[in-house]
Structure formats: C-alpha cells, structure tokens
C-alpha cells in the first residue's frame, strides 16, 4: 500500500522549438507533458518515474492549429478539448469530433487537456480513440529522424500503448471531411466528468438505405474497437429495428470489456448492446 501524492524527482525541460524537443527526446528517459491531465496523476501515483519532463506548453502557438484543407481538417496535437469543442471549422466540418471534445472530462480538464495528450496516452476508456477510428483519421508522428503518417487503426496498440516510439511525438491528427454524414457520440458515464463506461462513435451516410457506416467503441476492451466486418452487414440496406438488434447482439458478443468499479464486464456488454441499438436507431433514422 503506497500513499501517493508526491512524484519522484524529475528535471523539467522547456524547449523553444519542436526541433529542440525532438533532439532532447533522443537522449531518452523523458516524458512529454502538455495539459498534464493524465500525466500529473500518473507522476503522483509514481506509475511513471521519468528522469525529465519536456513541457510543450511554450510551443502551443505552433501546435494548436486547426487547419481547413478542403477535403480534410488538420489539428495540431496541442489543441485543447475546449478549443476543439468550440471551433467553428471543427463544428461544421468534423462535427463528431466537436461533440466528443465537449464530453471529455469536465470543464477544467477540457481547458488544459489536449488532443495529442489524450490520443498519445491511449487510455482504453478515452473518448477520442473511437472517434479517430470512426473517421479513419491519419496521425503524423515526428522525430529527429523525420515524419511518418499512421492510420488510427494502426496507431492504438493496447491499453496506454501506441505506435509512438520514445523519441517521437504526435504532431497532428488529420480528419477527412465526410459530407452528408449523420453522427453521434454516445457516452455512458455513472457520474459527470468520468471516463466512459462505454462510448460509441457513429458516422453514417444514409439515403433510402445505409450507404456508409462507421461505428467505433471505447471502454469495452483493451483499446478502441471498430467492428469493420459487422458494419458491412448493415451497409446497402434499409435497416430495420430487427437488423439493429441482431447487429448489436453480434457486436456485444465480440466485446471483452473489463470488470471494475464502474461496472462488471457483463454489465458493460449489456450497455454496449443497448447503446448500439439506441445510437444507431437515432443516427440511421430507424423507427422502433
């Protein structure tokens, strides 16, 4: 039993450019801090004991951009949840991200926490990973060796584990602009501000039938999950309530959510099923 509150000793480096940052990271044993909303508790709990923290806050001006590129929107990794949730470009072009950002944590968390911080931390119950999967977003990772681009489906590896190497930082997340898509982020929490017990991100293009469907889950396993194969079963169809129930049942059966104080595994599966039916009914316009 450890009664924690006080981190181990660490050095603090405040780089003046991203290149400084990358050079410093090459030395190893450093952790990036931006909003610190997950990192500070982990330091206090001594879950992580880095030798150095690299504070990116001075780079905020360069890295919190939201850029309209026509067919896509690029978001710098230091954009805060608050900024994302109130930005007009995000609201009109990638609205699923906008509503999701408004549901991250509580107001204090949203004011400090960043897109890049949350995505890099890869908490299995975090909100963004499901949205990134639904959009099939592209992540730009940068190191002193150069840049590489990774798809969201390849980026998230497991609980708190991603494609990022120790000397890399997440520079940007790029979201395709999907015209004419209905969307919803359903987040089920026991108490305001908590992590999702189950979160469902849906993007769908619907005419008289479902033309495209992207549904991704968080909180239901080791990482965000998108049932690509099952999605196809609903595409090209005029979906009925019965189809949804079967779909939800099948999805729920593939999930292996954890049991914890928020809810047991079997309860979470039930919730995922109910939430799937509810969310898809709404987004696909299925009358029950």
């Amino acid at each position: 039993m450890r009664c924690n509150m006080y981190p181990t000793i660490f050095g603090l480096y405040e780089p003046s450019s991203i290149y400084d940052t990358l050079d410093f990271l090459d030395n190893g044993n450093a952790k990036i801090i931006a909003g610190g909303q997950s990192l500070i508790p982990m330091l206090k709990l001594r879950v992580i004991q880095p030798k150095f923290l690299v504070d990116l806050n001075k780079l905020r001006g360069d890295l919190d951009y939201i850029e309209d590129r026509g067919k896509s929107i690029g978001l710098g990794s230091l954009a805060t949840h608050a900024k994302i949730s109130t930005d007009q470009i995000v609201k009109s072009k990638i609205p699923l991200l906008s509503v999701t950002a408004s549901k991250v944590g509580d107001m204090q968390v949203r004011n400090l926490g960043t897109l890049g911080g949350s995505v890099s931390n890869a908490d299995p119950s975090a909100d963004y990973p499901a949205v990134l999967l639904a959009y099939d977003a592209t992540l730009t990772l940068i190191s002193s060796g150069g840049e590489r681009k990774v798809k969201a489906s390849e980026f998230f590896k497991g609980p708190f584990s991603t494609e990022l190497k120790d000397n890399e930082i997440l520079r940007e997340v790029e979201f395709p602009v999907l015209e004419g898509y209905a969307y919803k982020y359903e987040k089920i929490v026991r108490r305001a501000g908590d992590f999702a017990m189950v979160g469902i991100a849906v993007l769908a293009k619907v005419s008289d039938k479902v033309e495209d469907l992207r549904i991704a889950y968080t909180g239901v396993g080791e990482k965000a999950y998108r049932p690509y194969e099952l999605e196809k079963e609903l595409v090209g169809k005029k979906v009925t309530r019965d189809d949804l129930e079967k779909f939800a049942e099948k999805v729920s059966a593939t999930l292996t959510p954890p049991s914890d104080s928020r809810g047991s595994s079997s309860y979470r599966k039930k919730v995922a099923k109910i939430a799937t039916i509810k969310t898809l009914s709404e987004v696909l316009g299925v009358v029950s």
């Binding site: 039993m1 450890r2 009664c3 924690n4 509150m5 006080y6 981190p7 181990t8 000793i9 508790p41 509580d106 089920i188 929490v189 026991r190 108490r191 305001a192 501000g193 908590d194 017990m197 914890d260 104080s261 928020r262 809810g263 047991s264 079997s266 309860y267 039930k270 919730v271 109910i274 939430a275 509810k278």
Partner: protein, 744 residues
Amino acid sequence: MKYSGRSIKRLYDDKFVTGRSSYVDDLQVSAMHAGFVRSPYAHAKIKSIDTSEALKSPGIVAVFTYKDFSPLLKRGIGIWETYEDPKQWKFVARKALADNKVRFVGEPVAIVIGSDKYSVRDAVDKVNVDYERLPSAVSMEDALKDKVIIHEELGTNVGFDSTFSGGDVEGSFKQADKIISVEITNNRLIPSPMEPRGIIASYESGTLNVWYSTQVPHAARSEFSKVLGIPSSKIRVIMPDVGGAFGSKVNIMPEDLSVVLSSIKLGRPVKWVATRSEEMLASEARHNTFKGEVAVKSDGTVLGIKGDLLVDLGSYLTYTAPLQPAIIPLMIPSAYRIRSASIRSRAIYTNTPPITMYRGASRPEATFIIERIMSTVADELKLDDVEVREKNLVKPDEVPYTNVFGLKYDSGDYISLLRSGVNKLGYYDMRKYAEEERKKGRKVGVGMAFYLEISGFGPWEYGEVRVDENGDVIVITGGTPHGQGTETAIAQLVSDALQVDISRIRIVWGDTEIVASSMGTYGSRTISAAGSAAQVAASQVLEKMKKVAARIMKVDVEEVEYREGEFINKKDERVKVSWDDVAKAGYTGTDPGIYAQVTLQGDVTFPYGVHVALVEVDDYGIVRVKEYKAYDDIGNVINPALAEGQIMGGTVQAVGQAIYEEAIINDDGGLAVTYADYFIPTPVEVPQITSFFAEKPHVSAYPVGSKGVGEAALIVGPAAIVRAIENAVNKPINKTPVRPEDLI
C-alpha cells in the same frame, strides 16, 4: 431588531471564498515532515523492519517503529467514553504503529521524518519490512467463523454482542397475520472531507502544542493526555480552520499519535497532512447488514421486529465506532409504535480499514432499516406507503413516548407532520406524474421516507460571553463549527440576548487554552447545546451589566430595565445609561469585569421529518435523482438559510450513499477505489432541492428550543431515494448504493 429566525448572512466566509483560510497545511511552523510506511497485506506477521537504507536517504532525520514508541505509551487509543461503554466491548487499544502484526492493507508500520515531504516519500520506499503473510478474514461472514483471529488477545472477532429486546416478541409473532422477511444492507462509505486530516505537534519543555484538524480539541487533549501520561494542563490543542469533517475528525488516528510521539522524541515540531489516498483509509464508514422478520397485521400494523444486525468494525476499534452497533438497534423502532422487538447486534473485526462515524452515524442505518421495513410491509400488503406509516406512528397524545427499548422521545406530532409534509411536498401529485411518465415508457419514480432521529447528545456544552470596556462582545463557544456556519447562528442568539448589533460580536472556538472546556460540534448538536450555553452566558452577562447600570444610576438593580442598548430606570424613564457607558463603567470601581462562563447540561432530543425524492432511471440503469424535497420539524430554527444549507449538504451525501459511493474492498482486503472511481456527486448529480421547516415546531428542552438538522437529510435521504428507484423500476432493492447493473 431580532436576529433569531432570520437568514443572516454567514459572518466569517470571506476568507473561505477568497481562498485565505488557514488549514493545518497552511500554518507556517518550522516543522519536519512525516510520512508512513504502510502494510501491503491485510494480515501478516512483521518479522523484521530494516530502516538503515531509509536513514541514509537525503534529508531524513529519523525512522520510528512500534519499538521506539512503546516505552512512551501509557496505553493505546481508547474509545469515546462520553458516549461509549468500554465494558460492553472486547477490544485492544490501538497503538501508534503496528506491533507484531499488520491487520489491514494500509496500516502504518513505521513513520519516516525528514526535511521535506518529497524526501520523506522517497525514503518510505526504502524501509524494508519483512512480512510473513497470514490468512485473512476480509468479509464479516468469514470473520464470524473465527478461523482467522485478528486480535489473538480477544480469542474472537466479535467485538460486541448485545441483544436489545422489549415487549412480548414471541407473542406478537403468534398474533401476526403475516411474517415478512427482510435483508437490508448499507455498504461501506468514505466521508471525504475536502481537507484531509492533518496535524502539527511541537513538544518543548514538557509542554505539548498540537495544531490539529479535529472537531473535538478537548477530547483530543484528554486522549493524548491519557495515552502519553502528560497532564492535560500541559497540552494545548488548537483547531485551525477545518475543511469539513462529517464526524470523521472526532476519530483520533494512530498516525496522529505517531506524529505527536515523534515530536516528543525529536524535540522539534513534526507535521503530517494526509494525502487523498491516506484520507480514504483514515475513515471509512457504515458497512452493516440487518437480517430479520417483521410481524404484521393485515391492516399494516407492525406488531414486532426480530433480527440480527452485523456491523463491520474493520481491523481495530476506533474512537467512534462503538456508537453504531449500540445506537442502530435503539433507533430502529423510529417514531413507530412498535411494542415488541428483539435485535441481536454484533460488531465484527475484519482485516479491512477501521470504521469510524460519519454524518448520522447509526441513524442513517436505523432509518434505512426501518423505512425499508415499512415500504416492504406496504408492498407485501398492497398498502400505500404513507398509510402504513400513519397507521404505525406514535400518536401525539402518547408523546413524550418511551420506545420499546426504553428510549424517551421528547416532543413531536409525527402524524400531523407526515400529513402536512406529504401535502406541502406534493407527494401524491409527484407519484401521479411518475405514473403518467412510466406509461409513456420513461422510468420515473417517486419515493418517500419518514425519520425520527436522536441528536443533541448532551451531556453538556460550554459557553462564555465577555463584554469588553468598549462594549464589544466576545463569545467563546464549546461548539467547534467547521463549515456549518453555526458561529453565525450563535452570534444571532447572543445579539438578541444582549440586543446589540451583530457586528459587535466575535465568536471564538477551537483552542483548549481559550475555551475552558468543550464537547464540540457533532451529532447535530451545536445550535441546541452550544447556542443555548452562549445564550445563557449572555443573559448572565446582562445581569452583571444591569448591576453596573444600577450603580451608575444609583438605583436598585430591580429598577433597571434593559432595552435596545439602553439601561433605563423603570421609575423614571428619562434616566438611562447606554450600553457603551455601562461597559466602560464595568471596568472601573468595585467588582470590575463583565464575563460569564456557563457549562450547560443538556440531553438528547428528537427531530423528525418526511422527505421525498423523484428519480429517473435511464436505459442503462443509471439513476438520476432529479428532485429532492424535505419537510422537517427541527424545533426552533435560528437561521433558516444555515438550516437549509444542512439539508442541501445532507442531500448531496444522501445521493452519494444511495447511488454512487461505494468503498469497494477487494478479496485481498485492499481498498479497490480511488477518487477517480469512488463517485462523490458533482454539481451535475445534485437534484433540485426544496426544504421546508414545520411552521409550528415542537421544541427541545434546550433553552434555544432547537433540535438539530445537521444530519437529517443523510439520515433519511437514502431510504427516500431507494424507494423512488423501486417505484421507477418496479423491483425490490434493499441496499445502498444501488448500482446501475442492479437495475437492468
């Protein structure tokens, strides 16, 4: 202008709302910092402790273990003998640190002292304790088997075993039309004050000074004295601003004692402020189960109750834990005319963090048990909730009423309050609304619950009033307000008694060298007990002032009347002398000085009321308490805004207890939650709260006539909320908290 009965703005809040208050951690004392090495096991033998590496750590001055402290101890930490009888208990007084065994995960084994808390924290990891794990008894069921004995000296894990009986129980069960079985549980909670506990101790030339986040400075002084063998006269306990306590800071912790002992051994000040995770271990609460049977007539009359109450103690008997198993049974009959009952109450040691008292201590449990019984009776007999209660409530002409266990209720008209409360709160309209909404497919429910609680708790409280030569007033109270705002209500009472402006009154408390004696603030007692003592002291001071005025006016004291700042010659009203002049004269001539000290005796008193909750359960089984309404007879209400504040605070914690908060203990005996998932309600979870107080209250025997309101909503709230959930989902529930997965 009379202050009592009005919502006077709280007097000393500026510092709190501007962040300038001084809690223990804010005090600038040049102290060493303490940290604790804690047990990772629920039950283990300590084979050896190696402190050598820790002592080499930078900034560390000492590491102490049980062996270092035991020569300084006259005995361990006892129990609260004002209210608790040690003869009824099997217990081993807890020492400052674990002796040869650890008995719960988190038990302090060694104290590390150093120059700053970071060095101390690093050194804590360097103390090597060699443990030999023992089988543990984490649940009450396991502990009851006595296969694993937690305190060998006791030979059993049962610390308390007493059967409370009255009336002809067997007879009443024979007469019954129906016998209904019940099982009712309140799971473990954590009080969670915003300020964690903290202490600074300084020992110099035989005198011990302690700055302590406590609600009972005098009780703490007395206990430190008994444990250390230092006379009380040489111990000073100062209570700085305290950021919440909820009863948990009556408890005296082994950590506190270890800090005091370290300061004695080192001859220098030592400080410890608990981290959040330490605070979660420091005081846990509730955790009990009642299994029983209820004998009823088919018209809903409850003839008798019998059953077994099991109360978890955790691994040690704390200063305040004995209250619960002793008071829960006594209060189970509540305001109902139940003439036979037999309840066996047992308190069990388990290898879990020790239990302390928490807001309501015993009355929330008793109320939840009896209100679940009443609601279950209503369901079983297809009767209305209000009807069943009305049928069983003690009639007004039977009050004062002695319950089946001999407890005497002082005053009240329970039936009238129930009727007017149900009307005023719109209970039946709410029920109808809920029913209509359910027809539309929403899971909306409304529930009510009634309570009678015991508060005040005697045996006495201290009040002192001083009028200085400028006519300004200092009130020294034995009450120890720590957020409630009772100091404002006391100022109102004294203002009225002395008919001086409230701005001339200063209320002082919480220092054993300023306050001659005190019980403190707990048990909803402060206005009744401390307010009355201050009021009586004020009236004595006024008598002294009249004597001085008589001397100035050269008349007999009987001829002096005091009205709004002026002492008047009754025979010739043109002759008068002002308050300020009398105050000045009070420090000249013969018999100088204007003060009065009062130690006012008091007794228990019994507030009561009816509360109603409206909830909605969503598709995922997640409950939202949307409305909460209270109608209470708390005797005279001195400051309605303060009283309403107590109802609001109690309601928020009731919402927590009913649906969110659960101190889950894992199979290994460890606390499985942190504040990330021990869900204290946020403002989003707080319902719309409406509070009414009875227009014609039934007063207590205390001079101010109030009864107490500090715990009411947490006492009855869980029962009302759980009943509302049952109404919403049409499914029986008999525990707190109700988890979403219980409902779908």
